[in-house]
């Protein structure tokens, strides 16, 4: 971006439109001009130039002469910007006065505070799931619970959800999970246990997979089959901050939690049945 373009950008940030900014710079650079010669270099018509000049005059950035034909001069930059700031200052004070009036009016009425409207959104791939679940885990204050297949533990580990859980536990939160612990998932389950998660085993679980964050919002999957742990792997999950839906999953989780056994016990049993060296 050259200097002039950067200057225009900053002027537009100051409340001018692009045409006003270009015209003002032109007058600053080349001195006072009548409207006619300004039209061609700005690539517009004389009537449009007049309109833009009128707006700049109102803003206090251009001054018209009393000559005929009328000549327009740019106001010195500092003075012009001060003028804009003053104008906004006046408007701001007027808005504040109106705000106070409205607040006074509102206090005399009996307005009902608006109820929170729950939102629902479909998450279509692992990337969307991870980018939704990660911040939810990090912003949880008390607990996140999940029921997941072993294949999802791998995605969680690869894409940072395990780290987020670790951070939640470090700040005093709790992570509880239920999964079907098999030989092939021992390492992933152990990793979840190692970060401080409380994990339990549910034999041949074939229900819905879900996560609940602080009993307030949840992600649930219906009929989902993730084959590869990559970000663009298609999935279909529903995120909602509907409190009843979150409580529904929470109640289901507690039911499963009661019916499951500690993962550490299951891992021990699996290794006793079939020692690791044999498995490897």
């Amino acid at each position: 971006m050259d200097n002039e373009a950067a200057f225009i950008t900053r002027l537009t940030g100051f409340g001018l439109n692009e045409k006003e900014a270009k015209l003002y710079i032109r007058l600053l650079k080349y001195g006072p001009k009548t409207a006619g010669p300004l039209a061609k270099p700005l690539g517009t018509y004389r009537t449009d130039v007049h309109r833009t000049l009128t707006s700049l005059i109102e803003k206090g950035m251009v001054r018209p002469s009393l000559d005929s034909p009328m000549v327009y001069a740019a106001v010195d930059l500092d003075a012009a910007l001060d003028s804009v700031v003053k104008k906004w200052g006046i408007e701001l004070r007027e808005m504040e006065a109106r705000k106070r009036e409205l607040q006074k009016f509102a206090n005399q009425q009996q307005f009902r505070p608006s109820e929170k409207v729950p939102t629902f959104k479909i998450l279509k791939n692992i990337k969307e799931i991870v980018s939704t679940a990660g911040p939810e885990i990090l912003s949880s204050e008390e607990e996140t619970v999940w029921v997941l297949p072993p294949s999802w533990l791998k995605s969680g580990s690869l894409f940072g959800l395990r780290d987020a859980e670790k951070q939640l536990i470090a700040k005093g939160g709790r992570v509880r999970g239920v999964t079907d612990v098999t030989y092939s998932s021992i390492e992933l389950v152990q990793e979840a246990l190692d970060v401080g998660g409380e994990i339990r085993h549910f034999d041949n679980y074939s229900g819905v997979y879900f996560r609940v964050f602080d009993k307030k919002c949840c992600i649930s999957a219906i009929n989902i089959d993730i084959k590869h742990s990559k970000l663009d792997e298609p999935a279909s999950m529903l995120y909602t901050d509907d409190a009843t839906c979150a409580m529904y999953h929470m109640s289901t989780f507690e039911m499963l939690w009661k019916q499951s056994v500690p993962a550490a016990q299951r891992i021990k049993e699996l290794l006793e049945e079939r020692p690791r060296t044999l498995y490897e």
């Binding site: 629902f120 074939s206 229900g207 279909s236 839906c245």
Partner: protein
């Protein structure tokens, strides 16, 4: 505003499902475990579905058809329900009416059901949730096989 309700036992699930089926005007879709489908039949829900079919409505259902459920599946088919079989369904059980009202429950296989059996179900007329269940049903429907084919195999 959409309403939501948590269902805590089989009795309430049947009551809610019955109401949903009765209120349907065009179509019912369902996915149920064999035990749940048999239980629903015992409590007269297929008769309500039959009334909808007689009025020109459509009822489609998916379940796992095995040797022990033949009678139930035949009864549903005789009523005019379109039933399909799925071998390993991993998902939620559901009943959805007219794409606007639903009851769903986490798929935990409970072999012996009674009215007091504790389950956790979710009733809602939230459109986003209903659409999600409906889309799931359609995906499962496309993968399922016709009940007649499965009945012949058995």
């Amino acid at each position: 505003m959409a309403k939501t309700l948590i269902i805590e036992n089989v009795k309430d699930a049947i009551a809610a499902s019955s109401t949903i089926v009765e209120s349907a005007k065009k179509e019912i879709v369902w996915i149920l475990s064999p035990a749940m489908a048999a239980f629903f039949a015992e409590y007269g829900i297929p008769e309500k579905s039959k009334m909808l079919i007689e009025k020109g409505g459509r009822v489609r259902g998916i379940t796992k058809i095995s040797g022990t459920d033949l009678d139930v599946v035949r009864e549903l088919s005789d009523n005019g329900e379109e039933v399909r079989h799925v071998d390993q369904f991993q998902g939620a059980f559901m009943v959805v009416a007219d794409k606007r009202e639903s009851i769903s429950s986490i798929n935990v296989n409970i072999a012996h059901l009674s009215l007091d059996t504790e389950i956790v179900g979710f009733w809602t007329d939230n459109q986003a949730y209903v659409d999600f269940l409906n889309a799931t049903f359609e995906a499962a429907w496309n993968e399922a096989v016709d009940a007649e084919e499965q009945l012949r195999k058995l």
